[in-house]
Amino acid sequence: MFSYIVRRLAVAIPTILILVTISFVLMWSAPGSPFMGEKLPPPEVMAALEAKYGLDQPYWKQYLDYLSNVIFHFDFGPSFKFKDRTVNDIIAQGFPVTLTYGFWSFIVAVVCGVGLGVTAAIRHNTWLDYLSVSFAIGSQSIPNYVMAPILVLVFTLWLGWLPGGGWEGGTWDHIIMPVIALSTSYFASIARITRSSMLEVLNSGFIRTAKAKGLPMSRVIFKHALKPALLPVLSYLGPAFVGMVTGSVIIDQYFSTGGIGQFFVNSAFNRDYSTMMGITILVGTLTIIFNLLVDVLYAWIDPKIRY
């Protein structure tokens, strides 16, 4: 197991390097410049700007400088767009926001999704099952860019219960709507996966045995069925978790949270090279780490898997 983790980590480092390199090349091959606006600065100012951000250096040098700053100083450099911020500042501000509502969305999605999936499976082919399934399919077919405005309409405009956006340091009333909007489609997927895998498990031999020896139903479900039933859910949760904590552009834009997703998209439009790179590396690294984590959890839950 330990050697497996070490091996996976050893692969992760070149993967991140490749990610950085590809992003770097793509970025530089995109036309446009971070310093261009409707009014193009004069050549002297352009030269000063390029010198300030090291863009006057040859590409290979920019690349190596960037790598060494990131690896040895954990410094993603200054933002090309926001004059008084560094990329580290932007991540330090935006990531905790996204992490907060992402984390709660994850909890909500898992608890509700697994709960609903299990209920539907146990009460297979009853009204409860049909209700759960239609609820799950319904929520999954509402994308979050439709969900978000509906929530705002209902809770902000009609009921006046919740502020329609903003973050203000992450008070609970600012978190609720982003969490609902973000968790809905994940929760629906989790419910569907849980239900079908639970159904499969409930029909297998060892469950029949457990039932036959007279174990109470709750014990059959929680002690015997749940663990194997959750395996497919688990493989879904790794990428889902990264997706949630690294932010949804829609949620950030719609609820004006100041989260990382908003910076990510705007940095591409603004040619804010350093911010774009910084967030790409952050998201890439998190994806790799969580995928590894899921694989380890898998081995822990499923006795059939040994590394």
């Binding site: 446009g32 261009m36 606006g37 600065p41 004069p42 902000t156 405009l157 956006g165 973050w167 705007n266």
Partner: protein
């Protein structure tokens, strides 16, 4: 409160601006609201709020609340005293002497001195600062030596501005610049606090570091989320300020912003595009549409290596005449925009719009003339023109491009395809002349026609059409030193209207919704320069 402007005839023209400065002035019978917090929306975060670096309209608005220049504008855009109480102009109109008030102080208590302006202006012009708006000081103001400072050929200290004492600022111009005093209301010309800038570098504009001389101080800034400005007790006219707190929320989605305004979370928001008419009916008192000093237009690529048809003025005229602008202003935009047949907006101070044939004709006449011109130029069903309109990706620009290409096809039989590029890519293509027709928008940097007409100059960096007219260049050069440049401006516009290097389409309006309790908004200020200290909220 109106400001009296007294002109005394003496050897030097002396301008004394007397009376108290314009400020929030509730009318009789109005009861001020208990909560004087003004919350407004901006669509995107500004790259900077540092006066020397600021480059966008919304960032400039923030700078106007956190800093104060020599002069301010009132609700109608007239100049009123700011840090300066008045100024003298020399006989040759090349030396301006500003008299600074002695009660102007920075938010940390330091007095605002003439030296602060000297420092700020040198800093903005210095290429080492790399200000995206350095050109405002170096190309627009006409200050002695500004060009050489901007190109790095001379030290910033050689800039023609001096502070003989703390309360006197003397500006030397290379030539009489008729609009010079206008430029000091621009954010780039605001003073900055030297010690703060030097102590904190690029981070001096953060709430924990910033020192300003405006009516408000920055107390909170979460990029892409919110900015909070609170009253500056040290501001010289704080006694007449009413709004206690200004909150700027960044809301990218205009529909979402509007819903939040409906829910009462904001005092001022933009109106979602295309919904002006419907919403105006629902909120007649709250929704407004004010003229703006901005023009929406298409460039022809008239460079020698551009498309062959674009070389022919008859074809350009035909395209200029061959579509109905009211379809765009009334059918698509629907927010009070004004069809444009010349480049400079009619609301520009002092400018007389020339009588242009196209403007006086009916659309039937225009279309008929366009057909005749095309035929004369040898184009028709046997020899059709096909062309491409390039615009930056946006639903709004797309609708306009589709409408125009449809009308060209129907009226003139021209095959126009439309192509969009993402903003950064678009700017590069347009700047390099890699287009046939390209979309553009231009807003005046000061309220005088030259801010528009300079784009017709063959040497202008923003002359994307590649227009090159010796006559226009000469007239623009003459206007720079003319006693009264206005007739020359009108003449330039007349020539350009005949040459048609661009297709003026419409003049922008600034459209928004504000809560009924918000008062004092400068509706008649065509530059949309608002100062939170002039606003107030009523019950």
């Amino acid at each position: 409160m109106k400001i009296k402007t007294t002109l005394m005839a003496s050897t030097a023209a002396l301008l004394v601006l007397s009376g108290a400065a314009y400020a929030a002035s509730p009318m009789a019978g109005e009861t001020l609201a208990a909560d004087q917090t003004f919350t407004y929306q901006d669509i995107d975060e500004s790259p900077s709020i540092d006066p020397g670096m600021v480059e966008d309209v919304s960032g400039s608005a923030v700078a106007r609340n956190l800093f104060e220049g020599l002069m301010n504008q009132d609700a109608d855009g007239n100049l009123i005293p700011g840090v300066a109480t008045g100024y003298d102009i020399s006989d040759d109109k090349m030396t301006y002497t500003f008299h600074l008030r002695d009660n102007a102080v920075w938010s940390n208590g330091d007095p605002v001195t003439a030296g602060d302006f000297v420092y700020a202006w040198r800093r903005a012009a210095d290429p080492a600062t790399a200000s995206p708006y350095a050109w405002f000081v170096t190309d627009i103001t006409g200050i002695v030596g500004a060009g050489a400072v901007g190109s790095g050929d001379a030290a910033p200290e050689t800039l023609g501005v001096e502070a003989p004492d703390d309360h006197t600022l003397v500006v030397h111009l290379e030539r009489p610049v008729p609009y010079f005093v206008q430029t000091v209301t621009h954010a780039t010309m605001f003073p900055v606090h030297q010690a703060t800038v030097e102590a904190h570098g690029a981070e001096w504009t953060r709430p924990e570091n910033i020192v300003g001389n405006g009516a408000y101080v920055l107390t909170e800034h979460v990029p892409q989320e919110r900015m909070v400005m609170e009253r500056n007790a040290n501001y010289w006219n704080d006694a007449e300020t009413v709004i206690n707190k200004v909150v700027r929320l960044i809301i990218n989605d205009e529909t979402q912003a509007f819903t939040r305004w409906q829910a009462g979370e904001l005092d001022l928001v933009g109106v979602p595009s295309g919904q002006y008419l419907a919403l105006k009916e629902q909120y007649p008192a709250e929704i407004y549409s004010n003229p703006r000093l901005c023009t929406y237009y298409y460039n022809f690529n008239v460079r020698p290596d551009g498309p062959a048809w674009a070389q022919d003025v008859r074809v350009r005229q035909a395209l200029n005449l061959g579509f109905d602008r009211s379809v765009i202003t009334e059918g698509i935009l629907q927010a009070g925009q004004i069809p444009a047949y010349t480049f400079t907006p009619p609301t520009t101070a002092g400018f007389t719009v020339p009588v242009v044939e196209a403007a006086a004709m009916s659309q039937e006449e225009r279309t008929a003339k366009a057909k005749a011109l095309l035929e004369e130029a040898g184009y028709g069903s046997d020899n059709p023109i096909s062309l491409e309109i390039l615009y930056n990706t946006s639903e709004g620009h797309k609708s306009i491009a589709i409408a125009i290409s449809q009308m060209w096809k129907e009226n003139l039989g021209i095959e126009a395809t439309i192509n969009n590029m993402e903003w950064g890519t678009f700017l590069e293509a347009r700047g390099a002349g890699q287009f046939e027709i390209s979309r553009a928008g231009w807003c005046g940097d000061y309220n005088e026609a030259s801010t528009f007409l300079d784009l017709y100059n063959s040497r202008s960096g923003y002359n994307d059409a590649g227009y090159n007219s010796a006559e226009v260049d000469a007239l623009l050069a003459e206007a720079k030193t003319a006693e009264d440049p206005q007739p020359l401006y009108t003449q330039v516009e007349t020539i350009a209207a005949a040459d048609a290097p661009i297709i003026p389409i419409y003049f922008y309006t600034s459209v928004g919704a504000r809560s009924a309790s918000l008062k004092g908004w400068p509706d008649n200020n065509v530059e949309n320069n608002w100062y939170a200290r002039d606003l107030y909220k009523v019950e």
